[in-house]
């Protein structure tokens, strides 16, 4: 019964698209990408993610603030693995594979600083290389992905919990 109610609600919700007074409130949206992976909430309403292109085109790292405004975007030269390590409202750290893993830290003003460890090699846990996980919630809301029909292109949406 509960399942039936939910199914009906979902169908109505999908059809009406947010016009029926749902608890979560859409705050902003961003992008129209072939795919979005590795969403990392910054804990303050913003996030970063990897914009994944198809057909061997390069991917990009995108960092948005709590209003959905672009703070930083790095268009990469390859579609090789990208892993977002950490994202806060003050900095973004991510790693890309270019012969070896290269880590960079990005300040809020867009300044990019390589992260090094002397003569040591930094790397990313193997599972995170292949299957970057997403952290999509924070105290006030969460991120969802709108998969457009019929194009299947993807838009990132910020929702407040209520």
């Amino acid at each position: 019964m509960n399942n039936g109610i939910l199914t009906t609600g979902i169908l109505l919700g999908a059809l009406l698209g947010g016009m029926c007074g749902m608890a979560a409130t859409q705050r902003w949206s961003y992008d129209d990408a072939p795919a979005i992976i590795g969403i990392m909430a910054d804990g303050s309403g913003g996030c970063s993610y990897v914009r994944w292109e198809t057909n061997d085109l390069p991917s990009a790292v995108v960092w948005l603030d709590k209003n959905g405004a672009l703070i930083y975007r790095a268009d990469l030269t390859t579609n090789l693995p990208v892993t977002i390590v950490n994202c806060t409202k003050k900095q973004l750290t991510y790693a890309t594979w270019q012969d070896s893993w290269r880590f960079v830290q990005v300040a809020r003003d867009g300044t990019v600083t390589p992260v090094t460890a002397g003569d040591q090699t930094l790397t990313v846990p193997i599972l995170a290389q292949e299957l970057p996980v997403s952290f999509t919630t924070d105290r006030k809301g969460f991120f969802g992905l709108l998969v457009r029909v019929p194009s299947s292109r993807v838009t990132l949406i910020r929702y407040d919990n209520k």
């Binding site: 509960n2 399942n3 109610i5 939910l6 199914t7 609600g9 979902i10 169908l11 109505l12 919700g13 999908a14 009406l16 698209g17 947010g18 749902m22 608890a23 979560a24 859409q26 949206s29 795919a35 979005i36 992976i37 590795g38 969403i39 299957l131 970057p132 996980v133 997403s134 999509t136 919630t137 969460f142 969802g144 992905l145 709108l146 998969v147 457009r148 029909v149 993807v154 838009t155 949406i157 929702y159 919990n161």
Partner: protein, 163 residues
């Protein structure tokens, strides 16, 4: 003789006391419908989990800090991707399930479920091409494990306190 007995007794008492102080305490347990795929602690002693049966049909269950059911989807039939918990706190549960088509749902602490929707398509809580839900097994006061009966393969979510 009396001195030796006293020393041994003291060692036993101290040793036993330490063991007791450090031991875990089982707080509650909940027998699940099928094999547990993901557990997400809510940070306050409760958790939500996803199970999946032999037919690949999933269900999502949200347990409160006493191990009582706060919300349950029932069996999500026809689900090729199962279900994934996207977030769980004491106040709300977010999950993505396949209920006819993929859809994200938001559940409040009263167990009321609402779809997360937007114009132009359907909303997911994670990338479709990487539908993997990570588990969060611990909180400030304890953690969750899955107890599997090796004879019956029945899964049980068990809540332990650190002490």
């Amino acid at each position: 003789m009396t001195t030796r007995f006293t020393v041994y007794s003291a060692i036993l008492v101290i040793g036993g006391g330490c063991l007791t102080a450090r031991a875990l305490t089982e707080q509650w347990r909940y027998v699940t419908r099928a094999a547990v795929q993901q557990i997400a602690a809510d940070g306050k002693g409760g958790c939500a989990y996803v199970d999946k049966d032999a037919s690949n049909w999933a269900s999502v269950v949200w347990l409160n800090q006493k191990g009582a059911v706060q919300y349950a989807t029932g069996v999500l039939t026809g689900s090729f991707m199962g279900a994934i918990i996207n977030g769980c706190s004491a106040n709300q549960l977010l999950y993505t399930g396949m209920i006819g088509f993929p859809m994200m749902a938001q559940v409040d602490k009263k167990g009321k479920a609402l779809p997360v929707a937007a114009f132009g398509g359907y909303v997911l809580g994670m990338p479709l091409m990487m539908p993997f839900g990570t588990s969060l097994l611990n909180d400030k006061k304890g953690f969750f494990v899955i107890n599997v009966n090796t004879n019956t393969e029945v899964n049980t979510v068990v809540r332990y306190l650190y002490k």
